[in-house]
Structure formats: C-alpha cells, structure tokens
C-alpha cells in the first residue's frame, strides 16, 4: 500500500517539474503529458487510500528525518485515508477538466506555471493529511497556502485579483500563526511533535489550545467571521483552482479540526457549543449573503461557507451528544458531518467546474448577463442542475443524504433530558431548516437566471457548449452525486455503522417508476404538441428585459431579512425652484452594508497600518538612536535568557 501511495506521490512530483523540463516541445504537449502523469499519480493515491480505508489497515512510513524531533512521515488511519481518498478523487476529476480548460486565456508561460503548480498544490494537500508530525503538517500546510495563493493570482494584473490576493495571503498567514501557537502549546506539555492523543495539557492550556486550533483551521475553512478571503479568492481564481480550493482545500482544514480537536485533545462540552454556534452562524449568513450575490462564482463561494457551517454544526453536535453519552445521535452527527464533507467536495467542485464552463462561454461572471444557456449548453446545464439539486439537499441526491443525518441527530435530542441544551438544539434546528430552505431558493435563482428563459446579453446568446474534456470531469462528479445519494444507506451500513437513516433506494426506484408510468401514459395518449410564444397579456414582443432579474428574484427575501442585509434605500432629489416642483436631478440608491468588512476587517487593518506608521517613524533616526536600540535589545535578551535558563 505504502509503495503504491508513494509512487503516486512521486508521479505528482514529476508532474510538477515536467512542464519546465519539457520546454522544448510545444507547450500544449508538455501540459498534456504533465496532466496525464498527474492523473495516473492521483489514480494510484486514491486506490491506495481507498483500500486502506475499506480494509481498516494502518500504514506508517518514515520519509525523511531532519532531526529526531522534526521528521516527515506518513500515517494512514481511517480518518486520514478517508480524506486522502476524497482529495484524490475530486482532484482527479478536476485534472480531467483542466485538460481543455487551461488552454483558454492567459499567456503560454502562465499556462505552464499553472500546470506545474496544480500537482504541487494537490500533493501538498495530500501530504498535510498524511503527515504524522506537526512539523511535517505545518510544512506542507504552508506549501499548500503558498501554491494556492500563486494559482489564485493567475490574472494578476486585475485590481480585483490583487485585492483578493492580499486578503487571502494575510488571512491565511493569520490562521497559520494560530496553528503555530496551538502546536507549540501542545509541544510544551508533551515534548513531542508527533500527532497523537494526549491528556498532558492542563485544563486552561487545553482550552487555549482549542481556541487557537479553532481560529487557525476556521480561517482556512472560512468559518464566519474568518471568512472574508473566501468569496474574493474563489471568484478570481481560475475555475479549476476554485474547484480545488472550495472542494478540497477547505476539507483539509476540516480534517485538521477533526484531528487536533477530537483526536489529539479530548473535546469538552463547551467546545461543542462553540462549534454549534459558529457553524450555525456560518451556515445561515453564508446562504443569506449568497442570495444577494450576482457573481456566479462568489455565489458558489458563499455556499461553501454555508456548507462548511453545516459540517461544523455536525461536529459540534457530535461533541455535545458524545458528552451526554448518547451513542446513536453522536454517531449520526459525526458520520453526517464527514459524509457531508465528502458530498460537499463532490457537488461543489462539480458546480465550480460547470460555472467555469459557463463563465468561459459567456465571458462574464455576472449572472444578470446570462440566461437561455440551457439551449446553448445543454449538457453543462444538466450537470449544473444535478449539482444544484444536490446542494439544495433534494432527495435522493447526496446533499440530502448527509443533511438528513444531522436533522435526525437534532430530532433525537429529546433523549438529552436537559431542558436548556434541548432548547438550544431546537433553536439550532430552526436555523438549520431556514438555511436549507434558503439554499433551495438561491439555487432556483442561480439555475433559473443562468440557464433558463431568454439570453440577457449578446455574449450569452452566442455561447457554445464546451468541449468533451470539460464535460467528462463534472459528469463523473454528477454521477457520484447520484450514487452517493441513492445508495447512502447501503454505503453507511457497508462501512459498519448501523444508523437510523432512511433507505433511499426504494424511494428512488418508486420515483423512477412513477415518472416512467406517467411519461408512458402521455406517450400513449399521443397528445399533440405545439410550440408557441410565451403568453404576455397580448404584448407584441417579449424581450429579455421583461424577465425577472436575479436581483428581482431575491428581492422579497432580501426585504424580509433586511435586518441582516442592512439594505438602505435612498432617494435624493434636487430642485430648480424653492417650491420643489421641478426636479433637477434625482439619485436613487440601494446599498447593502458589508458588516464584516466595514466593521471588523477594515478597522483592524487601519489599526495595524497606524502601528506600522508609528514604527516606521522610529526607523527614521540617526546612528546614535540605532545604537541605543541595539543596546536595549541586547540587555533585554540577556535578562530574558538569564531568567529562562
């Protein structure tokens, strides 16, 4: 197993350098070869980890030892092999999609860099999950952050990309800082960098370690309020990169959270409530912000925040139920959270890739300028529809299969016998249901405005279906959505969990049967079909301008939730005369207030800018001052060293 896995990893490494070695050949061939190597490497890795996961075998291998403490090694248990299978599989489909996708846009040189960085990014994510040492974990974690940052900056000339890049880079380093703190705290008490269960930490330190872990991984996963980089970064990145970032990289953070909070440190009850609260807020605000979004990729990015919220809710419920010793709800929520991790990876990368095809075909990310694409790009439309159904938690697809487990866990909280906790659960349940319903509304909007009715712009009217390569990757994922949903009960019992979830197979068979019966009946009747125009109360010609826009569609919901959006409608008028009868100028505006950006991020940034300005003032001095600085530093160092040693 280890051999297969390691040969897969070396193939990935080979794929990183190939585009540069093979510079003599035409770039396209070099990229193709590199991607083929990447595909075969991923196939090896996925097979190896799936076998590990299904057989329950553990494999441990030391790779390289820097010092006895700082080593690179790999360790597969069922949790890490599950995540590696997920990463491998989704990356495989993304790589398949990349074959044709990377040939559009950008310069020749940049495409080569993109091809080279893609395997590095995937490899680093796999190695983070495989690492059995905090040093190795952090090393690959940083490679993952930097390679994803470079991939994201593909269109680096655009101001939008630069803004997103700064947000992403600062936020990701902010998160890593907290990881450093957490790991050093753990090291301080265990004297080892190995990732293994410990109870050596005193109560207070353990709590601090948890907070640091939560902030560190929460930033990477995009839990509100650490989410702001996510919509910016995902929308400007090339679509295959956004598929990987949203589908896979966020899951690596979830892995870290599971590993360090649940495995290394034993969870306490209040952690559960923290996870539940932040998860619920992320899920709800994520979808509410998504409803307002007109940028197709930003909309999907906000849905990533929502789905990460769902996963974190599941993890929080697990901690709470586990504390009260209720085995079935605890297992339901943990398996539900992990299953949703897999499902979100599958349908979100599917959606990002099909959205990428749409963006490429129409040349815009603004959904108000799309429309009518179902006729131009029928296969993409069907694939996007399957993804939309899955993310809206419609049975019998996979999104529902995992969300029902969390619902079921919530509903079983009547066994808790603790009124206060139960009330909290009920409120959480209501928020969860609201989130789920809003997600469905948002995807009716997204699918309807992008694909249905008439094209709303000339570009959309000229769009053409993308090539086969860009359909194959998403098609595999769409099929997986269906299989994971319909056979969810069989899969869950297959891996050894006996949980009270409904069997979706008979439901799906009956659905299919009834559809076939009615379709057959109508065929028998031979109803005559006529194509005519849309009824418009006798209007002469229906134009796309008469259709509802995305803004119009979500307007009632925005009005109902105006407290959250903080929409302000203003209508200013200037008049020619004092009696205010002849208007000179009117200005009507609808603005939304970006709470997190304007109230938290920007004030913090300004604060740091001020501190930096203060320090740079002190830099601007003569030689004597600098000698004083040096003297003070040495004295301080000596005192500290003497105190410490």
């Amino acid at each position: 197993m280890e051999t297969l896995f390691l040969s897969g990893c070396s193939l990935l490494l080979l794929a990183c350098v190939l585009p540069f070695i093979a510079r003599i050949t035409p770039g396209k061939t070099a990229r193709r070869i590199a991607l083929f190597v990447l595909l075969s490497g991923l196939a090896c890795i996925t097979t190896a980890s799936l076998i590990c996961f299904l057989s329950g075998a553990e494999c441990i291998r030391l790779l390289y030892s820097l010092t006895p403490e700082l080593v690179f090694d790999i360790h597969f248990d069922s949790l890490s092999s599950f995540f590696i299978s997920l990463i491998g599989f989704v990356s495989f489909c993304t790589a398949l999609y990349s074959f044709n996708y990377i040939e559009h846009g950008g310069t020749e040189k940049r495409r080569l860099v993109l091809t080279a960085l893609l395997p590095l990014f995937i490899l680093s994510m796999i190695m983070v999950v495989a690492a059995d040492n905090m040093f190795g974990f952090l090393f690959f974690w940083e490679i993952m952050s930097i390679s994803s940052f470079l991939l994201m900056m593909y269109d680096r000339e655009k101001a939008e990309t630069q803004k997103a890049g700064i947000f992403y880079f600062v936020m990701t380093q902010f998160g890593t800082l907290f990881l450093f703190i957490a790991f050093l705290l753990i090291y301080r008490y265990t004297n080892t960098f190995d990732i293994k269960a410990t109870d050596a930490l005193p109560q207070v330190v353990k709590s601090f370690a948890f907070i640091a872990i939560f902030i560190g991984f929460g930033t990477k996963a995009g839990i509100i309020p650490f989410h702001k980089w996510l919509p910016y970064a995902h929308s400007v990145a090339p679509s295959n990169v956004s598929a990987l970032m949203s589908g896979v990289m966020l899951k690596v953070a979830i892995y870290g959270l599971c590993r360090f909070a649940f495995d290394v440190l034993q969870p306490e009850l209040w952690w559960g409530f923290v996870l539940l609260a932040f998860g619920t807020v992320s899920a709800l605000l994520g979808v509410i912000y998504a409803l307002k979004e007109h940028d197709l990729k930003k909309l999907l990015a906000y849905h990533s925040i929502e789905n990460i919220g769902i996963i974190v809710v599941g993890l929080g419920l697990y901690v709470i139920f586990n504390y009260y010793g209720l085995e079935i709800p605890a297992n339901l929520s943990l398996v539900g959270a992990l299953f949703h991790t897999l499902n979100h990876a599958v349908f979100k990368s599917l959606l990002f890739m099909t959205a990428g095809s749409v963006v490429q075909a129409t040349g815009t990310r603004n959904i108000e300028k799309m429309g009518g694409l179902v006729k131009k790009m029928p296969v993409t439309a069907v694939l996007f529809l399957i993804g939309s159904c899955a993310i809206s938690a419609l049975p019998p697809l996979n999104g529902f299969a995992s969300e029902i487990m969390i619902f079921q866990a919530y509903l079983e909280s009547f066994e808790l016998n603790n009124p206060v906790v139960e009330i909290v659960m009920v409120i959480g349940l209501a928020a969860f249901a609201l989130m789920s319903a809003l997600a469905a509304a948002c995807f009716v909007k997204a699918f309807g405005v992008v694909f249905l009715a008439k094209p709303r712009s000339r570009e959309a009217g000229k769009a053409r279906e993308v090539s086969f390569g860009m359909l194959a990757g998403p098609a595999i994922l769409a099929l997986t959505c269906i299989v994971l949903g319909v056979f969810s009960f069989q899969i869950i019992s297959g891996i050894g969990f006996d949980l009270p979830v409904p069997n979706m197979l008979p439901v799906s068979i009956l659905l299919l049967l009834i559809i076939l019966i009615f379709a057959g009946l109508l065929k028998l009747f031979h109803a005559p079909v006529r194509i005519s125009e849309t009824w418009g109360c006798g209007i002469a010609k229906q134009t796309p301008a008469m259709e509802y826009t995305a803004t119009g569609f979500s307007e009632p919901i925005v009005t109902i939730f105006r407290l959250i959006f903080r929409t302000k409608k203003s209508n200013e008028k200037e008049y020619f005369d004092s009696a205010e009868s002849i208007t000179k100028r009117t200005e009507a505006k609808i603005t939304t207030f970006k709470f997190f950006e304007e109230r938290i991020y920007m004030p913090l940034a300004h604060l740091f800018m001020k501190i930096a300005a203060f320090i740079s003032q002190k830099h601007n001095k003569d030689l004597e001052t600098f000698m004083v600085y040096a003297f003070v530093t040495i004295v301080l160092l000596l005192v500290t060293a003497g105190f410490w040693l």
Binding site: C389, A433, G448, V449, P528, V529, G552, F553
Partner: protein
C-alpha cells in the same frame, strides 16, 4: 419490500390519486356556498382533468426540458410522499418509508422543480410566482420543521406511521400538547396549499397569484398533472393533520374490513376538514405579502411553545 408493503403502497397511492380531486372541488363548493353561490358540481375537478388530458400541449418557444419534465417530477415526488402518510392501514415498521424529514424534503423537491418551470418560459408572471413561492417556502420551512420537531418530542419518534400508531394505541388526551401542534400544522396546511390568507387560487389577476402564476405556461395533459399533484399535496397534508390528531378507525393489519373501515372513516374526517378549510378561507382576506412572516410566526410560536411545554413537563 414484502407483499404487505407492496399491497399498502398500491392501495394508498391509488386512494390518494383518486380521492384528491374530490377534495379540491369540495373546498370550492363550500367557498361558493359561503359566498351565496351554488358552485360547481362535486365531480367538476375530475371533468376538468379529463378535459385537459384530451387537449394539446403548447410550449413556449423559450422553454426547455425543465418545463417538459417538471410535471412528471412533481407528481412522482408527491405520490412517493403520499406513501409516507398511511391512510388505508398502518404498515409494518421496517418499511423504510416514513421518515418525517424525507417526507418534507420530497415536497421541497416538487416545489423546487415547479419554481424552475415557472422561470423557464421567461414570462414575468412565472418569474414572480417562483420568486414569491421560494420566499414563502424559505420562511415556512423552519416552521414546518419546528412542528415536526414538536411531534418528535411529544411522540418520541421521527417515523410518521409510528407516530400515528402511538396516538392510535393511546388516547389523544395523553398528549394534550398535540392540539397546539395541530393548530400550527393547520396554518402550514393553509400555506402549503396556497390558500387565502397567503395566496388566492381563484383570483382573476395573475399579478396577485403565487402558485397559479408558476404553472401559467403549462397546458393540456401537463397542466392536468400539475393540478393533480396540487390536489395530492393538499390531501396528504390534510391526512397528516387528521391522522396525527384523530387516527380513530385506522387499521393496523391487512384485513378487508379493516381497510374499508379506515378508508370510510378517513373520507368522513377529510370531508369535515375540507368544509372547515372552506369556511376558514371565506372568513379571511388575503394578507399583504410582506406581512406573511407575522402569520407564519404564529405557527412557529405554537410549535415552539409545545416543545417548551414538553421539555418542562
């Protein structure tokens, strides 16, 4: 799937399928009589469906496959959902059909595709209907879930046939809080079936419609399927309310007499509820769209209070 389950599935869906249009006409009749009119005959909905099945289908030239498949999906999702609500007899527990969440989400599925088909033709009416429908859905669903949670807390199960069985074997007086949930279920019933305080199915202005506006572009047999699925949705939600409160007469085994008694008793109860709904509708005027959340909050509050009662007792 044993034979008992297959028999149940066939009988239950056939009954729902055949009986649903009658309830639609009955409510119309009651409303007409409240307004001092004679109203249409009770079998009018059947005639209407039959007429539609014979007509041609007209599609808009803007429309796509969504318009064509959504009637099939709608009726399929709702007929499968109807299996979750036992009417003819309560089947054995290990059936796999009965999870309350799955039941709700099957109805969400039907709504999802109906809203998409409203957007398909590019008609402003359909768009408006879909937009409003999804808005209403997103505020009523937490309420529905809350009512379901209340039921799960009271009856200690999430399986619908088991819920009916529990109430049937005990007495409604053992679970007085069920009446509170039932009132919120009644509000949910009104909302989900697009009735007067929320939506008016009989208005002559498309601008004020929600449900009817969405299916405006459907025609012929496809419209018939849409109308039929509306009737089915109404009937299964009524059956849910009826059987949670008064499951008297429901058979738990498969004897012919048992099935006949449960069907007969259900028909009587359903007719009474339909009359009540018709009368209720006649007493109300339509609420302004943005005042609807207040109306839903009543239902939400009732369910929440039930849960609090249940927890403290």
């Amino acid at each position: 799937m044993n034979w008992n389950m297959i028999l149940y599935t066939v009988l239950n869906t056939t009954f729902v399928f055949l009986f649903a249009p009658l309830i639609v006409s009955l409510i119309k009749k009651v409303k007409a009589m409240c307004q001092g009119r004679r109203g249409t005959p009770l079998l009018q909905t059947y005639f209407q469906l039959f007429k539609l099945f014979k007509k041609e289908i007209v599609y808009s030239d803007n429309s796509s496959f969504i318009m064509r498949i959504s009637p099939y999906l709608n009726i399929a999702f709702l007929l499968v959902a109807s299996i979750f609500i036992p009417i003819v007899f309560i089947p054995a527990q290990e059936s796999g059909f009965g999870n309350i969440i799955l039941f709700l989400y099957l109805m969400v599925c039907a709504r999802f595709f109906m809203a998409l088909s409203g957007l398909d033709a590019g008609s402003t009416f359909g768009n408006m209907g879909s937009s409003r429908e999804m808005t209403i859905a997103s505020i009523i669903e937490p309420t529905t879930l809350m009512a379901c949670a209340a039921l799960a807390f009271i009856l200690k199960t999430t399986d619908i046939p088991e819920m009916f069985g529990t109430v049937l074997s005990g007495s409604i007086l053992q679970y007085p809080t069920l009446f509170l949930v039932a009132s919120s279920l009644f509000i949910i019933l009104i909302v989900e079936t697009a009735r007067v305080p929320v939506d008016n199915p009989e208005t002559h202005l498309e601008l004020t419609m929600v449900h009817e506006a969405m299916i405006l572009e459907q025609s012929g047999p496809k419209l018939a399927l849409m109308e039929l699925s509306y009737g089915i949705k109404q009937l299964i939600l009524m059956a849910f309310l009826i059987n949670i409160l008064f499951p008297w007469g429901m058979a738990t085994d498969t004897t012919l007499s048992g099935i006949l008694i449960s069907v007969a008793s259900f028909i009587i109860k359903a007719l009474l509820l339909a009359v009540a709904m018709g009368v209720f509708e006649s007493f109300f005027a339509k609420i302004r769209f943005f005042r609807l959340p207040d109306f839903f909050m009543i239902a939400f509050f009732l369910s929440f209070v039930t849960i609090v009662f249940e927890l403290l007792s």
